[in-house]
């Protein structure tokens, strides 16, 4: 709305930063008021809170974001959403290139953050054993906030990428995206960045192949999501640690 009619590339970084700021703010606020008080509650409590928060956020967008009760067109950016490339007989959408590039950059940065920085290593320590981590002088509360922030940043980038790709958004897109994200993470192996990337790619390829190659009536695109979730269940049964994961950690 602010840059109505602009198709120039310089809008993209502003868009990204805006998206990141908005979702980081939401993440920090909800961590502080909804999740932190439940840190030592039985495991059912934060799960139920998560459902409440997701319903609340969805509805808040529907009610208070102008025009969000129906689908909204996503602002196009010429370099990213313009005419598709033709290479030989292949058609490659510009948005797809952008998405893959964003994935590569984010994955690399996240890997560096988790494995090479002090904060990232602290995060690994907290995830393995919060009490011991605290004894080692790690500020567990701060680490958890940082984890929420990182998640929010990545989700914001993914959201912008999805908007550019689909060219429209609505307040419900998060539900399916979240479910698929979990599927991809389980597929690759929870707690494993390479795994998550691989899982996401495999999930996408399996979905497309399933709609193409499953014969008869159960093929078509109507069954795409069904096959994705069936894949999730199959993975959990036969390889609960995921494709790249080591032994699965019991999250009970």
């Amino acid at each position: 709305m602010l840059f109505e009619g602009t198709l120039a590339l310089w809008v993209l970084p502003i868009m990204m930063i805006g998206a990141i700021i908005a979702s980081v703010l939401v993440a920090v606020i909800m961590e502080r008021f909804a999740y932190r008080p439940l840190r030592h509650a039985p495991r059912l409590a934060p799960l139920i809170t998560a459902i409440g928060v997701s319903v609340f956020l969805q509805e808040a967008v529907r009610l208070f974001y102008p025009g969000a009760k129906s689908k909204l067109p996503f602002p196009p950016i010429d370099v990213v959403t313009g005419q598709a490339f033709q290479i030989g007989g292949l058609t490659i959408q510009r948005a797809a290139i952008f998405t893959v590039a964003a994935l590569a950059i984010c994955a690399a940065l996240l890997w560096y953050f988790v494995n090479r920085t002090k904060l990232g290593r602290g995060m690994q320590a907290v995830s393995q054993d919060p009490d011991t981590a605290r004894l080692m002088g790690i500020n567990v509360d701060r680490i958890i906030v940082v984890a929420f922030i990182m998640g929010a940043i990545l989700a914001a980038v993914a959201g912008v990428a999805q908007g550019l790709q689909n060219q429209n958004i609505d307040f419900r897109i998060g539900f399916l995206a979240g479910l698929k994200a979990f599927t991809a993470a389980v597929l690759g192996g929870i707690g494993n960045i390479q795994g998550a990337v691989l899982g996401g790619l495999v999930l996408g390829v399996v979905e497309s192949l399933a709609t193409q190659f499953i014969p008869g009536q159960f093929g078509g695109s109507a069954w795409k999501d069904v096959w994705a979730f069936v894949l999730l269940i199959i993975v959990l049964v036969f390889r609960p640690q995921g494709l790249l994961g080591a032994r699965v950690v019991d999250r009970a």
Partner: protein
């Protein structure tokens, strides 16, 4: 905050009682005068001499407050030995202050200005504030513990009967309110009264009574529920809400086995209700049903329940190996698979079984043993419409579900579930068949939901995939969380609140889901054990509270004693 309050109590404690009594009397007197200049708001509040409409709620609150004050000091002081009357007065004070403020705000908003509030309204408002302040200043005085209070048996049964009768007429009255704001005020007043009774220890005593006269209570509750349609004078509008409540409650009770007893978070539970409903729909006489076989309804109920339970087994066998967050997401995915599949089996994307997104409409009303559920029957001079018929049928179902729930809870199986919920590894080490019991919880919950689904299909007339979205699973879960996990009464109350409030408070309809989401977060934050907490749950959520543990043990021992 609390220390400052204690210091104030030390200094001005003597003033508390007279202040509160004055407040209650002023509040009561105010209700006999006009509150509003405009006669069309909140019923009619512009009459002098006698109270009307919502003024009656305020009057009742004031009278209860006066009774408690007289228990604190005065003619009823011997009753005050048993109950913490000052805590009740505190709750009543805060509640009635909120109530009066809400009334004045509603008058001001609906009539277009504070100017339309008559002096009587301000008088009652000041009274409620005095009551609130006075109540805060009163010291706690209770010498005896209500759990040891004993009355002759017939008096105790009489108390139960009176409470049940109050519940019957209260719910009939509440459902009869057409005006959303009057309903809201009734809800606030009722909540205040219940809160007051809870904080003075009255319900702890009732708990002991219930333990001693369990059969009387169960039978009485059933009779009250049975009599409810007769209070409606043939009106189907409220019966429709009541049937919704019962279907919802019966389904939630099934989910309560899975979540509340076994501690498995199932986010796709609505699919089992859907499986039952779809089974009933395709086997019904509907012109759109896709299966030629038309078995009698009782058989359909069994088939629907079994289909649902089989689905539960199919989904449970692989997924119950994972736990916690994983299980929640997998069941969520299963719910989505069910919805998408029902939407796809329309003949072009798959075999034609469910007619896809259009669903199966025009499901005829049930006829069981010659009783046509679609027609109005006249019993004892009172007409009972279509929804009342379904209400009776559903009541039998609900009674069955509750019996199953209670029986399972008090059995070896139920204790196994508790063990699994609290520590799976320890349970396994003790020889509990963890996987088998989890699977049993899953499939028995599915069985009950499937049963409820078969009636729902006929009651709703049509079955479509969009009735079985994730949000409805979340609603079921919310009913349990709100009411109290693992309890019967809690789930009933939670279901009633979640179904009735949105029906009656139409003006919040757009914000319904927003409030719902917020409610879940706030409940988990401040009262994770729910409105009616099972004692064991309460301890699970407040592990470090030694005082609470001792108290719960005391109550539990007393309950064991009286029921033996």
């Amino acid at each position: 905050m609390n220390e400052r309050l204690d210091a104030l109590r030390d200094r001005f404690g003597r003033l508390g009682w007279p202040l509160a009594l004055t407040g209650a009397i002023v509040l009561a007197l105010g209700t006999f005068t006009s509150w509003s200049y405009v006669a069309t708001i909140l019923g009619n509040l512009s009459v002098y001499v006698y109270p009307g409409s919502v003024q009656l709620f305020a009057l009742v609150l004031a009278v209860i407050a006066i009774l408690f004050l007289l228990m604190y000091r005065g003619p009823l002081h011997r009753l005050g030995d048993w109950f913490k009357s000052s805590l009740a007065v505190r709750s009543l004070g805060l509640g009635s202050a909120v109530f009066m403020t809400l009334v004045l705000l509603l008058i001001a908003v609906q009539s277009g200005g504070l100017i339309n509030i008559d002096p009587g309204g301000w008088v009652s408002w000041v009274g409620s504030l005095l009551l609130a302040v006075g109540g805060q200043l009163m010291e706690v005085r209770a010498i005896k513990d209500p759990i040891y209070a004993r009355l002759p048996g017939w008096v105790e049964i009489l108390v139960i009967v009176i409470l049940l009768a109050l519940a019957l007429f209260g719910s009939a009255f509440a459902l009869g309110q057409e005006d959303g704001s009057v309903f809201l005020l009734f809800f606030v007043a009722l909540g205040t009264a219940i809160w007051a009774l809870a904080s003075c220890g009255f319900f702890t005593w009732i708990g002991i009574l219930a333990a001693r006269h369990r059969r009387v209570l169960m039978l009485g509750a059933f009779v009250v529920a049975f009599l409810f349609p007769f209070t409606q004078g043939g009106s189907d509008a409220n019966m429709s809400i009541a049937t919704q409540v019962i279907i919802f409650a019966a389904t939630a009770m099934g989910l309560n086995i899975v979540v509340g007893l076994a501690g498995l978070l199932d986010l796709g539970y609505i699919a089992f209700l859907g499986a039952g409903a779809y089974t009933a729909a395709v086997l019904s006489d509907s012109a759109f049903s896709t299966v030629g076989w038309k078995p009698p309804f009782l058989l359909v109920v069994l088939i629907g329940a079994c289909v649902s339970a089989t689905l539960g087994l199919i989904i449970g066998t692989p997924t119950l190996r994972v736990s916690g967050d994983y299980l929640a997401i997998v069941t969520l995915a299963f719910g989505e698979i069910f919805r998408l599949t029902m939407g796809n089996l329309d003949g072009s994307n798959g075999p034609n079984l469910t007619r896809g997104p259009n669903g199966i409409p025009a499901i005829p009303d049930l006829v069981v043993f010659g009783w046509d559920f679609g027609e109005t029957h006249i019993v004892a001079g009172i007409p009972l419409g279509r929804f009342a018929n379904y209400y009776f049928l559903l009541l039998i179902f609900a009674a069955f579900v509750i019996t199953v729930f209670v029986r399972l809870n008090n059995s070896r199986i139920g204790r196994g579930w508790v063990a699994i919920r609290e520590d799976e590894k320890a349970a396994e080490a003790m020889g509990v068949n963890v996987f088998g019991l989890k699977l049993f919880a899953f499939s028995s919950g599915a069985f009950l939901a499937g049963m409820a689904g078969t009636v729902k299909a006929h009651q709703d007339v049509s079955v479509t995939p969009d009735q079985y979205v994730f949000l409805n699973s979340a609603f079921l879960l919310a009913a349990i969380v709100l009411g109290g996990m693992g309890t019967v009464a809690g789930v009933l109350i939670g279901s009633a609140i979640l179904q009735v409030l949105p029906e009656k408070l139409r003006f919040i309809s757009d914000y319904r889901l927003l409030i719902f989401g917020l409610l879940l977060v706030v409940m988990m934050r401040f009262r994770p054990e729910g409105i009616i907490a099972s004692q064991r749950r309460k301890l699970e959520f407040h592990e470090e509270d030694q005082e609470l543990a001792a108290r719960i043990e005391e109550i539990h021992l007393e309950e064991e004693e009286v029921s033996a």
